[in-house]
Subunit: 168 residues, 2 copies
């Protein structure tokens, strides 16, 4: 990859590693996510910044798997950030300006670019779900939908220290 022409090239403060030569497991794209955002720079910085209703188009093959999902107020959505580079290990996001490790960031650039968003479920019709709380590009591949259990998934007093320090 030629960094001088790569729109996702390395920026100052970013460090890449040489990734392993082989993959270890494989994924199916089980649907597509439809959002109002066509360019990276249009996406909200995080999902709570937008009330836009997004659509999850599950492949109809998997539609029977939605039985019972209609009883959930929220779902965890896993999707594939297919445009992200995978070798960045230290990053310096523009809006933070400090170098941090990939695993301390929610950046799409990571060895396995799987994104996680907690979304509020509005409606299910057939194999289509309407949700609020996604922040990805239109057309993003869907990997999984899980019921969100407050008992195990919600930790209201969790703190990301570097982020908190930044704001105070």
């Amino acid at each position: 990859m030629n960094d001088s022409t790569d729109p996702y090239g390395i920026r100052e403060g970013e460090v890449a590693v040489e990734l392993p030569k082989a993959f270890d497991a494989s994924l199916y794209f089980i649907g597509r996510i439809r959002t109002p955002w066509r360019r990276r720079e249009d996406c909200p910085k995080n999902a709570r910044e937008s009330d836009a209703i997004c659509t999850i188009d599950l492949d109809p093959l998997f539609a029977p798997g939605l039985k019972g999902v209609e009883t959930c107020t929220h779902v965890a959505v896993l999707y594939w950030m297919d445009q992200a580079r995978r070798d960045l290990i230290l990053q310096k996001p523009r809006h933070y300006g400090e170098q941090r490790g990939t695993f301390a960031l929610r950046s799409p650039a990571r060895p396995n670019p799987i994104a996680l968003s907690v979304a509020r479920l509005i409606r299910i019709e057939g194999s289509r779900l309407e949700v609020v709380g996604l922040d990805c590009l239109d057309g993003t591949p869907l990997l999984d939908i899980k019921p969100y259990f407050a008992s195990t998934d919600a930790v209201a007093d969790a703190v990301v220290g570097w982020h908190k320090a930044r704001k105070s």
Copy 2:
């Protein structure tokens, strides 16, 4: 696969689909999770059932990516349920007894068997993290570690209706 000898064969109330012929993306195993549980039947049913300290052994290649993670009280851990079958679309977990869709369950059996757990971070030493809140088999492959932001990840009043109805 011969179901008569498959320990993970189809049970009554379960329905499988024919999966797509080809995969769409691939994963790196970036570490291994060490837990006290060596057999499926020994694992806690969910992560809040156990206070066991589990160890995440990140591949040292990726250790610089932990910079800043030490400031987090909690992390979202994604891992690969490598022993689960991927074609079940309707399931009837033994401890619930009702048939539900895969996407309404946290069962490891799903088209992309990526598990999500929210874990409390105890300590980081080098490329090793000690956490509480995992429920997987010893040796489970690690896919990702993310900082857990209460602002976007915690929904304390979320409800999984089928589960709530069951308990009341």
